[in-house]
Amino acid sequence: MAYDTRNGQDAGGGGGGAAPAATPGKRTLTESALGNAGAAPVVQRKTDPPSVEPAKAKADNRTLSGVSWCAQFPTGTTIGELTDATFQANVQAFHDAMVAAATPANALNISISATYRPAERAHLMHYSYNVYNGTTSPADANAASAAAGISINWDHGDAATSRAKAGEMVTKYGIAYAPALVSRHTEGKAIDWNITWSGSLMIAKKDGTAKLDCTGDGTSSANLHAVGASYGVHKLDSDPPHWSTDGH
């Protein structure tokens, strides 16, 4: 684990919630709030100490950016990891309907690539991409990470190293396009899965009113998309594996 003891003055570099150092002569909230409250206020006034010791530098326990972060906060790859309970139940029911409709001859294959992405992972992917591409400075990324409660330090002391370390994370994550901070995946409301089979599947809609004849695959079968919608699992046309609560 690497620590940067150099900084601690960065905007937002709060060191993971460490208490701010007392400022000599500064009034407390108690005095400010109660100073005009009437008789016998309970006011405590801080006074300057007789001899001022130098304020100790805050300990900076943040971990520098780099590939060690990439293994943390993994994206889910099971239906059970979907954090939206309703969507999880809907996806499971849709999944079970497909399985129930299949025979061995159909060779149904359902392969899940991604379900829930933790917000922390989305944050790290987003800012590694931005710092690497120069659209966010390390200082601004530090501020954002501190606000998000993630104890990472994007500033390695020089721009080139900071960018390089962010780039290592981009490569490790396998990022090709700017990652979103918030998406249906971070809300636990999306699943990326490949669905393939042979022949025809008669899959029941959720309300049991009909079974639709599904041919092709999860990308191309309009009837499968209709069945999924009946379960509240909606297909996004532009991205073959992506289904969500609203198709977005």
């Binding site: 994550y173 998406s183 809300e187 490949n194 992506h242």
Partner: protein, 287 residues
């Protein structure tokens, strides 16, 4: 007439290069009478092969081309591709290789330990052969990116050769023009999330297709910017002519939120059509 597909391709490429260097008065060597070459006819249901990808040796951050030791990969379903199939591959620069299909396998690609299901081809990976002006061949580095895998029963009349893709011209956020050999691709934005692709040949529009950027939660809602290769914007990445007079196999790359589409079109003299059976998609990362 040579029957080996690679020999035929090389012969055509040599002829094309000689013609290009000799000037417009020269004729391709396989058309000695000087008569205009007739376009090669392609039936509606004729197999045209597969679009694959030649991987990079090493991953390039931010680039869509996968990295791996394979000569070529074709993402599944890769219909009709059988293990052991020996095919001729031609990349966007015209490098020609013999490759052999293996069994379906996994290729690490994208985020979250994602793996693409692919048919991986073995063969000449880091070097191919390209025709020189003199007709000699020389080893060259293979070009990572789209590859056309010819069907095993490709007609002898095919003389596949690459077409030059020019840099975009007249590119603004709202319009853009690309040139691909004799084709002009005009992109026009019609509203923030829609536009039109028009393919022109000899000044005549022969194909149009809508550009639609679907909404995605969390994605920027900036208007389409046609200067770049953003979501839903088609960009030409490879094109080959079946022979001196065409037709043309054009491959467009279209980025989506979670991956990359390679969309092939067959462009004939006065029309074009999509080839969904050859289209492929590389899933990269949950958005």
């Amino acid at each position: 007439m040579a029957t080996d597909p690679r020999a035929r391709i090389l012969a055509w490429a040599c002829a094309a290069l000689l013609v290009a260097c000799a000037g417009p008065a020269s004729a391709p060597s396989h058309n000695p009478a000087g008569a205009p070459a007739a376009p090669i006819a392609i039936a509606a249901d004729q197999p045209l092969g597969w679009i694959g990808v030649a991987p990079r040796v090493k991953r390039d951050p931010g680039d869509w081309v996968p990295a791996g030791p394979q000569a070529v990969i074709v993402p599944l379903p890769a219909q009709g591709l059988a293990a052991g199939a020996a095919l001729t591959a031609i990349d966007a620069a015209g490098h020609v290789r013999h490759v052999t299909a293996g069994a379906p396998s996994k290729l690490p690609y994208g985020c979250d330990q994602n793996q693409l299901d692919v048919v991986a081809f073995a063969g000449e990976r880091s070097a191919g052969v390209v025709a020189g002006v003199s007709g000699a061949t020389a080893a060259v580095a293979a070009a990572p990116g789209p590859v056309w895998l010819l069907p095993p029963d490709a007609p002898a009349s095919w003389r596949p050769g690459p077409l030059v893709i020019g840099p975009p011209v007249a590119a603004t956020a709202a319009s853009r023009r690309d040139t691909v050999g004799p084709l002009v691709l005009e992109l026009t934005r019609t509203d923030a999330t829609h536009g039109t692709l028009a393919i022109q040949r000899a000044g005549k529009t022969i194909y149009t297709a809508p550009i639609v950027r679907e909404p995605m939660a969390g994605a920027p809602d900036d208007p389409l910017d046609l200067r770049g290769a953003g979501i839903a914007i088609p960009v030409p990445v490879a094109a080959w002519s079946f022979g001196p007079a065409g037709p043309i196999l054009l491959v467009l790359r279209v980025a989506s939120y979670e991956g990359t589409h390679l969309t092939p079109l067959l462009v004939e003299a006065d029309r074009a059509r999509a080839l969904p059976a050859m289209a492929t998609y590389l899933y990269s990362c949950a958005f």
